[in-house]
């Protein structure tokens, strides 16, 4: 309790003369086991109240909140009193957040001491007088381990809701929207001088060989109509635009059961309430909500934000809580937005028809993994209200860590899994047995196709740039872009656009002119050497792999030669040597690859030796021996070969 005095004093001194602190707040960490002085309590309370300081207390348990017998959780008797002056206005106090908390709940049960019980009472009193809140450790952990993004002040957009002749003033607020903290929009800065922000120049050029720059004044808006270009200048376009007024008009009502969640559109849920200050209209609004609620209907609405924006269609769903009456607005699709794909009925195929046993084990699975009451106290587990976005958490953490220790690599933790580990583990352990039976009863068989894909992609990462572009936004992601494995098609990404002037935009090595691509990329110095050489290895393997007879061997060999030279120059013999080891191993396991290996031997294309490159730890004798050695005995069992080869790939990837 003395600590509160200290904290309050500290706070007062710190904040005196300064404005702009929204709230003064003391976070009290206590197990309520320390002694305190009853007499001074009143004085302290008074002074706290005078200064508008809010005391939030965090302790192991506050009795009334957990199990009735008050001993559900224990505390470490010697837990140090911890305290922390924590001002709310400071958004950047990420660094001193108490994330790692030694106090763990769920240790052996032990009743609270007499001392603690009185302590709890007193703290409760303090907290109550100062309008603070009591938290248990568990609650506090969820709150504090979470980086709160800047609180958004709710702002209302006003409309007049029209229903036949009724016109009501309403306000809409954003209730749910994907939270993308503005701080995550990173600036592009110059790597060698981070204080300089990079400027972007966007120039228009003619789309022909001449590449002439066009001045802004010489440009006009237009559209494609088939292959015809239709120039339409801005004024005409504005005239053409669909004219609409700001509105929020109810078209009609529909049965709430017709509103399938799968057709919801847009990125926001709005809360709609009547605008304060219009009492009669508020009554009418409440009446409408109540009526809709009781008849289980929703209202279909045409909404238009302003004359300049396109109208949209959406629906209102009534919501009534004991202290709240509102409607939720969500956007709906237009006819053009629907894609009427059809899928066959699964029961038509005989293989998909189910027997009783199969259904029974699914029943079991659902029962064991039912989360509806799986959380403590029979609550719903994983309520969206308590699950935080792991990406947001991780990003804040990374920023904080990088700010404090700039030179250390980032540690990337914080997945939904980790954040809810105990719960998940208990569910998973329960379901294991059921999964076993499902495995038996359904006979799933992996066709191994994906395996091959993931190793190739994951390790050489050569689809990064195209995925990145795809990621830009989820909307229309499936729109066809100029996908192609060839590098020049990459001109969409900004990196290549920067290089566009220079020559062909290059980031990846294509199979068309791999040697040239490789050289250019090495010259460019970007991406990094290891990245580029990885790509090159991949290309070589691919060429050898896909070759009909020896059609592509010549090309592959040229690549190999080029890679070898570059590796020597760059003092990176390991890349080449590892590849050669892999090629040798493959030669033994795959039909036809032996010929390529033979070619390597014929050309005396040995490992890079320590004579050629100081970094190499291969001595010349070894290298010769490596070539001369017989390839391991051929594996006759063809079925096994593919798998083994996959394994080999992975070995190499580990090495790289």
């Amino acid at each position: 309790v003395d600590a509160i005095v200290v904290a309050a004093d500290h706070l007062r001194r710190e904040t005196e003369g300064k404005h702009g602190f929204a709230a003064k707040r003391v976070m009290l960490f206590s197990n309520a086991a320390t002694t305190f002085n009853d007499h001074s309590l009143k004085t302290i309370l008074d002074s706290l109240r005078r200064q508008d300081i809010i005391v939030d207390a965090i302790g192991p348990t506050w009795g009334q909140q957990d199990e009735e017998d008050d001993n559900e959780e224990n505390n470490h008797p010697g837990a140090p009193m911890d305290m922390n002056g924590h001002e709310n206005g400071d958004e950047n106090s990420d660094a001193n957040r108490p994330t790692t908390n030694g106090h763990q709940h769920r240790t052996p049960k032990k009743p609270l001491t007499q001392q603690q019980q009185t302590g709890i009472r007193v703290i409760g009193e303090i907290v109550n007088t100062t309008d603070g809140t009591l938290f248990t450790f568990r609650e506090a952990l969820t709150i504090l381990s979470v980086h709160q993004a800047k609180l958004v002040k709710p702002t209302a957009t006003k409309y007049i809701m029209q229903l036949a002749d009724l016109k009501l003033h309403i306000c809409t607020y954003i209730q749910v929207k994907d939270n993308k903290p503005a701080i995550f929009r990173l600036k592009k800065v110059y790597a060698r001088d981070p204080t300089t922000e990079i400027k972007v120049d966007r120039g228009r050029y003619t789309k022909d060989e001449q590449d002439q720059e066009i001045e802004k004044e010489e440009l006009t808006d237009g559209f494609r109509y088939g292959t015809t270009f239709v120039p339409i200048n801005k004024e005409t376009l504005d005239e053409m635009k669909y004219q609409s007024e700001k509105c929020f008009a109810i078209i009609a009502f529909s049965d709430a059961n017709m509103m399938r969640r799968s057709i919801y559109l847009g990125d926001t849920v709005y809360e709609v309430i009547s605008e304060p200050g219009f009492e009669e209209e508020a009554q009418a609004f409440a009446g409408l909500v109540q009526a809709m609620y009781e008849t289980n209907t929703v209202a279909i609405v045409r909404k238009c934000f302003s004359e300049r924006s396109a109208p949209e269609i959406g629906f209102l769903r009534p919501h009534i809580a004991h202290d709240h009456i509102c409607m939720y607005y969500i956007k709906l699709p237009f006819a053009e937005d629907l894609r009427e794909f059809e899928f066959d009925n699964l029961d038509i195929t005989k293989r998909n028809q189910l027997n009783e046993e199969q259904l029974k084990c699914i029943d079991n699975l659902i029962t064991t993994m039912d989360l509806t009451h799986a959380d403590r106290g029979g609550d719903e587990a994983f309520r969206p209200e308590v699950v935080f976005n792991p990406y947001v958490q991780r990003m804040f953490q990374s920023i904080a860590r990088r700010a404090v220790t700039p030179d250390e690599p980032l540690s990337l933790s914080n997945t939904i899994m980790e954040m809810n580990e105990t719960l998940l583990r208990s569910v998973a352990s329960k379901s294991k047995r059921v999964l076993n039976t499902i495995y038996e009863k359904f006979g799933l068989r992996d066709t191994d196709r994906r395996q091959k894909i993931t190793t190739g992609d994951a390790l050489f990462g050569n689809i990064d740039s195209s995925t990145k572009r795809r990621l830009d936004e989820n909307e229309n992601v499936e729109e066809p872009t100029a996908d192609s494995t060839a590098a020049p098609a990459d001109s969409g990404s900004f990196e290549s656009q920067a290089a566009a002037k220079k020559k062909a935009a290059l980031r990846n090595i294509g199979t068309l002119t791999p040697v040239e691509d490789f050289k250019l990329l090495i010259e460019q110095g970007s991406p990094s050497f290891s990245e580029v050489s990885k790509q090159m290895c991949n290309i070589i393997l691919e060429l050898v792999h896909n070759s009909h007879a020896d059609a592509l061997f010549e090309k592959a060999f040229q690549c190999l030669q080029c890679l070898r030279e570059t590796c020597i120059n760059k003092l990176e013999p390991k890349v080449f040597n590892d590849l050669e080891i892999l090629l040798k191993r493959q030669a033994s396991t795959m039909d036809g690859r032996k010929d390529f290996w033979q070619k390597i031997i014929d050309e005396k294309f040995s490992l890079i030796t320590s004579e050629e490159c100081v970094e190499s730890n291969v001595i010349p004798v070894e290298a010769n021996k490596f070539l001369e050695e017989e390839t391991p005995v051929e594996n006759i069992n063809n079925a096994g070969t593919t798998n083994e080869q996959d394994g080999d790939d992975e070995d190499l990837f580990d090495l790289i």
Binding site: D165, K167, K177, L265, I325, F382, Y439, L444, A486
Partner: protein, 671 residues
């Protein structure tokens, strides 16, 4: 090169061999295509593409359609009655215009082009006329005229077709261009060969190839058996290489009946049952479909991604997975993209983005760029790779966390449009069966599956609810499937996404008053179906672009169904609304009036609101007074803006200082 190959192959061989020849040609053809770009595109086979782009197998899937139109003299006779009445349903205004079969077909082609431009302008189409006086084709066949090569549609083509269907101009244009031949000796075989040749020469890979034959002649080679046999054989060849043939019969005054049995049964390869159906159909049904102008985008059924759905690990650690394809069923239809054109040439331009240093104007390479964020006066730096790593959590896929009752989904749990999943057997065999079992049981128990979903390698995961969906069929029409079976993927918000909002605890109304509203609702109820409403802004834009491209004065008309018909509504509920007005509102109350009078009303009644709601005049005085006192900066931006609007002042920017500058200038001039 391709042409030479084709030319080199002796074409006038006996037709019995021609089938084999043709296939050989195709093989040569496709191999040479592959040869040409084996390096660039790696390979055209789906396997490789699939490997590189999971779930995005198909690069381009274009359709090709060729219209093969007979131009015999019968086509220029007046249409038969049935044709007329049917055709006029769609073209009321043009009833008098479309007199002949030829005009009708031209109009159909025109509509087809126009619809294609909206629905999928990457698709190729072309028009071949046969039975013409003049020739234009690669083989110098007589009486075959390629009007349009296989290409994307364009405004020029549409305008040309419009000329050919217009009653004033069609005769002249037609005779100038190609003319009709009186000879009966032209060969359908040659016409079909021309079609397949056009397809074969197409630079794009086509997934669907179609030939539409428009003819009024149900037995084109009645007098020449050889020609008839050749044509049938050719049709079969086309079918063998995947070209679909379709016939649109045109009936005229003299040709009243079109009997498929005479000739086209063999061409279309109809079974006897199908023949029966065809002969009983009204001949215009499908033609009407072509004539209809459709402003709607076409969507190819294509998976957004194909990923594993993992149920967990069994005791020995083997993961239990099934494979699902993810589809997007509802997405905002994109507006036509605005492009920048060079004014001088009206040609497309391209955008080049350069990153440069502000001081030296030095162009930077990607490796020179880092990403920074300013935190407490310090710039924190990341590499592009690190940003990527932060975003990557798990490999793509669904990870089941558990099951929940559907009632756990609250009305406001929504963040963004979802997906639909359907099992995929390609990666994991047996997926459909397990999927089906999960679906059945979830439906029965009213449960959804809670999953963590990672769509792509570098996308952060989200919580999703897999909501079971049973197949729903329209009871009135068994062919109308309302919903397919599968799971809807429904995104759930995170705690960070939900905001705390002010509570609205206005008093509830007693039941008898609520009943008044129920009456209103009951009388304004309808059955919502999403396909009912078209997007007014999008439709207007499409129509306007079309009108500009085709030099029309007026765009096609569009009715906006989203505007509620207040009059109609009033008719239905006026009495209840009046009752509501009487019970809730004071007699002279005007609803929905602007805020200003409302504020006044409030001050009149001495109600709340002490926040200084100034009337306009007051505001003006304040602003001007403040300007004189040089204390404009103390006023809020909305007040300044309002003032500028009032006095018609245009600020150079939207920053406060810009507003202040312009106001000061204005007042300075005033004085």
């Amino acid at each position: 090169m391709l042409l030479r190959i084709l030319d080199a192959i002796p074409y006038f061989e006996t037709y019995l061999n021609s089938k084999h020849n043709f296939i050989e040609q195709l093989i040569v053809l496709s191999m040479s295509l592959l040869d040409q770009n084996w390096g660039g595109l790696d390979s055209n086979d789906e396997e490789a593409l699939d490997d590189n782009y999971q779930g995005r197998q198909i690069l381009t899937s274009r359709d090709g359609t060729l219209m093969l139109i007979e131009c015999a003299q019968e086509m220029f006779e007046s249409l038969s009655k049935t044709m007329k009445s049917n055709a006029s349903i769609d073209d009321n205004d043009d009833e008098s215009e479309l007199k002949t079969g030829f005009q009708l077909v031209m109009r159909a082609c025109q509509s087809f082009y126009q619809s294609k431009i909206i629905s999928n302008d990457k698709d190729l189409s072309g028009i071949i006329l046969y039975g013409t006086e003049k020739n234009k084709n690669t083989f110098d066949f007589n009486h075959i005229y390629i009007l349009h090569e296989l290409a994307q549609p364009s405004a020029d083509r549409i305008i040309q077709l419009e000329n050919l269907s217009n009653k004033d101009t069609y005769k002249k244009s037609f005779n100038d261009l190609f003319g009709s031949t009186p000879s009966k000796g032209y060969s359908l075989n040659e016409a079909l060969w021309t079609c397949s040749n056009l397809f074969a020469n197409s630079p794009q890979r086509l997934t669907i190839k179609r030939v539409f034959i428009f003819t009024c002649n149900d037995q084109p080679h009645a007098t020449n058996l050889t020609l008839e046999r050749q044509a049938k054989q050719r049709a079969k060849d086309l079918n063998d290489v995947g070209i679909q043939v379709e016939v649109f019969p045109i009936l005229t005054e003299t040709k009243i009946k079109f009997d498929y049995k005479k000739f086209f049964q063999d061409v279309l390869m109809l079974s006897d049952d199908e023949l029966e159906v065809r002969n009983n159909q009204t001949p215009t049904g499908r033609l009407d479909e072509l004539l209809k102008l459709v402003y709607s985008k076409e969507h190819k059924k294509r998976a957004y991604c194909t990923v594993p759905l993992s149920l967990g690990k069994s005791t020995d650690g083997t993961p239990l997975q099934l494979s699902v394809s993810v589809f997007n069923m509802v997405r905002p239809c994109p507006k036509p993209t605005k492009i920048k054109l060079d004014m001088k040439t009206n040609m497309e331009t391209k955008l080049v983005t350069k990153h440069y240093l502000p001081e030296t104007a030095e162009i930077l390479m990607p490796s020179d760029i880092q990403y920074g964020v300013d935190v407490s006066n310090r710039r924190v730096l990341f590499d592009a790779d690190e940003i990527k790593a932060i975003k990557k959590f798990t490999d793509p896929g669904f990870q089941i966390l558990g099951f929940k009752n559907l009632s756990c989904l609250l009305p406001h749990h929504y963040v963004k449009p979802g997906h639909f999943i359907y099992p995929d057997e390609k990666y994991i065999e047996g997926s459909s069966c397990l999927f089906n079992a999960l679906l059945k049981r979830c439906l029965e128990k009213n449960m959804f599956i809670l999953c963590q979903f990672t769509a792509r390698r570098n996308t952060p995961p989200r919580l999703v609810a897999l909501i079971p969906q049973a197949e729903e069929i329209n009871k009135k029409d068994p062919n109308d499937r309302l919903a397919s079976n599968g799971f809807h993927v429904y995104y759930l918000p995170y705690a960070d996404d939900m905001r705390t909002l002010p509570k609205n605890d206005s008093p509830r109304l007693p039941d008898d008053k609520v009943d008044l509203f129920k009456n209103v609702i009951r009388n304004l109820k309808f059955k919502y179906r999403p396909e009912r409403f078209e997007n007014p802004a999008l439709q207007t834009l499409w129509r306007n672009i079309e009108a500009t491209a085709l030099n029309k004065d007026q765009p096609e008309e569009f009715t906006d169904l989203t505007i509620p018909n207040i009059e109609n509504q009033n008719k239905k509920v006026a009495e209840y609304v009046d009752e509501i007005k009487q019970t809730i509102f004071p007699p002279d109350y005007v609803m929905g009036v602007t805020k200003r009078t409302a504020a006044k009303r409030k001050t009149d009644t001495g109600a709340t609101s002490t926040s200084a709601k100034k009337t306009k005049a007051d505001g003006d005085v304040d602003v001007e007074a403040a300007a004189r006192n040089n204390s404009l900066t103390k006023l809020t931006v909305p007040i300044l803006k309002e003032y500028c609007k009032e006095k018609n002042l245009k600020a150079s920017g939207t920053r406060k200082q810009d507003l202040i500058d312009v106001i000061q200038k204005h007042i300075g001039i005033d004085e």
